[in-house]
């Protein structure tokens, strides 16, 4: 079952990771300030906790899945160069294997 989850790609590029971190820190801090002021006004600390939890859920939805806005600056990898001569690298390994069997 776990292999299904591992095969879903969840990477972001570097600028996207920075953007995601700024987004969730900002959302949680704003919800904390709103929650603190609201709890102070109505005099119940439970509402402060609920508002911060709501901010946590919102930032989970915004930053955990890899949305396309986090993949706008992909790294430019070099194109794949195919190998030209595979044989000279394989032969010494074969001779080594034969010596070990004896």
């Amino acid at each position: 079952m776990l292999s299904v989850f591992k095969s879903i790609p969840s990477h972001m590029d570097y600028k996207g990771q920075k953007l995601a971190e700024q987004i969730f820190q900002g959302v949680i801090l704003i919800s904390a300030v709103i929650g603190f002021v609201y709890g102070l006004v109505i005099e119940q600390f439970g509402w402060t906790v609920y508002i911060v939890l709501a901010g946590f859920v919102v930032s989970c939805v915004l930053t955990l899945p890899p949305w396309p806005m986090y993949r706008k600056n992909p790294l430019s990898w070099q194109p794949i160069i195919p190998e030209i001569n595979p044989e000279p690298t394989q032969k010494p390994q074969e001779t080594l294997k034969k010596k070990k069997h004896k």
């Binding site: 969840s10 990477h11 972001m12 990771q17 995601a20 971190e21 969730f24 820190q25 949680i28 801090l29 904390a32 929650g35 603190f36 709890g39 102070l40 109505i42 005099e43 119940q44 600390f45 402060t48 906790v49 911060v52 901010g55 946590f56 930032s59 989970c60 930053t63 955990l64 899945p65």
Partner: protein, 176 residues
């Protein structure tokens, strides 16, 4: 922050730190508040007995009449209040005695204006020795312990007190 798990880890740790800072802020906003409230106590009957199987204990059946209003104490940092009525007196053997006669737990959300009539003492008023007979001055005072959501637990005394003298003789049990 490349995988979902590492993003979830940093998000969760950040929100826990923010929650801890908010709880500290909640404590700071109510730490220096004065939690005393005027209290009115009346006592209607006092009875004194001497029971043999314990060194000079007394039993007191005291019909009290207490009114007070505790709603200014309940703010957003108070979870419950623990009230207790204590009697304080001096005897020849001990210079200060304090005995708790009655207590009550008041939760947040219950009616804070308490008007208690005809309350009997919940616990026995035993004395360590024979010091209650003909004691001139016994002071009853109501105090409470504030249980907060975050921070210290202050012990506050109410501002009303009642002093009364105890009778000179024991109650004699009638034999038929």
């Amino acid at each position: 922050m490349n995988t979902v798990l590492s993003r979830a880890n940093s998000l969760f740790a950040f929100s826990l730190s923010v929650m801890a800072a908010l709880t500290f802020g909640c404590f700071v906003t109510t730490a220096f508040k004065d939690r005393r409230v005027p209290v009115d106590i009346h006592v209607s009957r006092v009875m004194l007995k001497n029971v043999d199987d314990f060194t000079g204990p007394r039993e007191r059946s005291d019909l009290g009449f207490i009114t007070f209003d505790l709603s200014p104490i309940f703010d957003w940092n108070v979870k419950q209040l623990f009230l207790y009525l204590s009697a304080e007196y001096t005897t020849k053997s001990n210079s200060l005695n304090q005995v708790v006669l009655w207590d009550k737990i008041v939760l947040r959300g219950e009616n804070p204006k308490l008007n208690l009539r005809d309350m009997k003492s919940k616990y026995f008023f035993f004395d360590d020795g024979n010091g209650l007979r003909a004691n001139k001055n016994i002071t009853l005072s109501l105090s409470w312990n504030v249980v907060p959501n975050a921070g210290v637990l202050p012990l506050v005394g109410g501002s009303g007190q009642v002093s009364l003298p105890f009778p000179e003789t024991y109650e004699t049990t009638r034999s038929y």
